[in-house]
């Protein structure tokens, strides 16, 4: 009923103005990203320890930004699978992020070069006399690992590009059949997504410690990924609303809903994180408890205990209380702050998952982490912004656009 609702989209409002600051981002970010990665490589080359440090930093940053692209892909798939109306005005942002997945397919190659330092536990000489590792050898071997990795990145790249291509094609053709086609594809895609993300978490995170196993780790990585996507989309919305007329279309109601989902999936992450801890704590089997022991007990654990506590407080307690209020979720500044915080704490989570597995003096947040974060982050955000500048900012011919424009929380 409120008169503030736009009834239809003016095509001039939904392209980024020529002078908008975001138009400068793609070139800047991609160049900066490549410079940082080359600089990191130049710093490391020639020193065996530093090369190893770079490989661990690169792996951490890669898994971090990959989770955003994967979360975006899941968001897009779910919107189509559920025939969601409310989300149409913000869906294009997620489509852009998901369409950067081919970049991650290319960035997967360095992981193969770093293979022996990252996954040395199950490739080294000692592993040959380790019964537990030998029992897994049919799965944990270099050839199969490489093949699986290629399958994952191909699935993601194809899906990301497929949804982006079709959705942007609808902007010009206004063909409703595209929506139905993408909806039909989404069901199979979600199954492929679920399997590939779970197994990628097993391969790229869990196998860093070859003795430890947790069937929940796949869901754990997935939960963090979909949580962080809402933070990313909120910040994207604010970046795009300034200096354009997009504020007429993406209203406080949509911000509120993204905030609710951010809150909800953060609680989901907590639920999964606690469930994993709870079962391992109860079972008390050495191969399983090792994961938490090395993050909280002894000399090694003493270094990681602050990170573990930071996650409990900063990933659950504080955001849970902060994001609960309706007033905060409807205030752009406050929910923006909350979203930025979740991006930071998600990095803490990924770092905490990966790095305790590396036994080294050099294992602390350092220059290689900063360079690879800016490097991969620059390539990821630069590519996504490039896609953002090239097409309409929202799916302007989507059959459910009117429903999304009229959306209101009760």
């Amino acid at each position: 009923m409120s008169s503030s609702h736009a009834k239809a989209v003016n095509p001039n409002d939904v392209t980024l103005p020529q002078t908008h600051w975001l138009r400068k981002i793609p070139v800047t970010a991609i160049v900066l990203g490549i410079v940082c990665l080359v600089a990191a490589l130049a710093l490391a080359l020639g020193n065996k320890d530093k090369v190893e440090a770079l490989q661990w930093s690169f792996h951490t940053s890669y898994i971090y930004f990959l989770s955003m692209a994967l979360g975006s892909l899941f968001f897009v798939l779910v919107q189509f699978a559920t025939r969601a109306g409310w989300s149409v005005v913000v869906r294009r942002f997620a489509e852009n992020y998901a369409a950067t997945l081919p970049v991650f397919a290319i960035l997967f190659i360095p992981m193969l070069f770093g293979f022996h330092s990252l996954f040395h536990h199950w490739t080294s000489e000692e592993a040959k006399s380790d019964v537990a590792i030998q029992a897994k050898a049919a799965y944990l071997n270099e050839q199969f690992f490489t093949v699986r990795g290629i399958i994952y990145v191909v699935i993601w790249s194809v899906l990301g590009v497929y949804y982006y291509r079709n959705s942007t094609r609808q902007d010009t053709t206004a063909d409703k059949q595209i929506t139905f086609k993408l909806q039909k594809t989404s069901y199979v895609s979600i199954a492929l997504f679920a399997l590939s993300v779970s197994f990628c978490a097993f391969d790229w995170i869990m196998s860093l410690n070859p003795h430890w196993y947790s069937t929940m780790l796949g869901v754990y990585y997935f939960a963090g990924s979909i949580m962080v996507v809402y933070a990313l989309m909120l910040l994207t919305t604010f970046a795009v609303r300034g200096g354009t007329k997009m504020g007429n279309y993406i209203s406080t109601e949509h911000i509120h809903d993204l905030g609710k989902l951010l809150f909800g999936f953060n609680v989901f992450w907590t639920y999964i994180a606690f469930s994993q801890y709870f079962l391992i704590w109860y079972g008390n089997i050495p191969e399983e408890t090792e994961f938490y022991a090395m993050r909280s007990l002894g000399e090694h654990g003493a270094h990681w205990l602050p990170w573990s506590i930071a996650l409990m407080v900063g990933h659950f307690a504080v955001p849970f209380l902060f994001l609960m209020s309706r007033h905060i979720k409807r205030n752009p500044l406050l929910i923006g702050l909350g979203a930025a915080w979740m991006l930071v704490i998600h990095y803490v989570d990924i770092h905490w998952l990966i790095r305790p597995n590396w036994q080294s003096e050099l294992n602390h947040f350092g220059i290689f982490d900063i360079l690879t974060l800016v490097g991969i982050g620059g390539l990821f955000l630069g590519t996504a912004t490039l896609l953002l500048t090239r097409k309409s900012l929202l799916p302007q011919k989507d059959p459910r656009l009117a429903e999304s424009l009229a959306f209101e929380n009760l």
Partner: protein
Amino acid sequence: MSQKQNLYGVLAEFSSASAIYHACEKVRDKGFKHWDAHTPFPVHGLEKAMGLKPSIVPWIVLVMGLSGASGGMLLQWWINTQAYPLAISAKPFFSWQAFVPVTFELGVLLGSFGAVFGMLFINRLPMWYHSLFRSARFEKVTDDKFFISIESRDPKFDATATSKMLTELGATHVELVEQ
């Protein structure tokens, strides 16, 4: 005087959502306190047009949820350390990890009780009878008509003047309803 005592209020019928929306804005601006709008479906933004304050149900849920969670933890602490300590898997008697599921569930349970029963209480439900059901036309509220009722206990209420005002606001039919 006796007529005023027996009077519940005045009931005005509107034929569209936008008509009642704008009428509500006027009634709100005139400063009426004891009045309500009745519609066959949720009309977006009507709470703003009526000037309703946010519900206090969230606060009831918060208090109930926290009581449930802390009560659950306390219950398990008392059972496992005071009333009937059992050694399980060589874990400490007070193992907070093991108590989290019950703490969580009790927090959720009492929180949702707070939401449902708090909402019923604030709406004064269950209610066996409501004066507005005296009006035959009011049956249309579940079909295609929209109503505003202003109660006689409102300080600004005056049977004649308020009826006239509602007619001027676009009501298609105005009637007085007895207690």
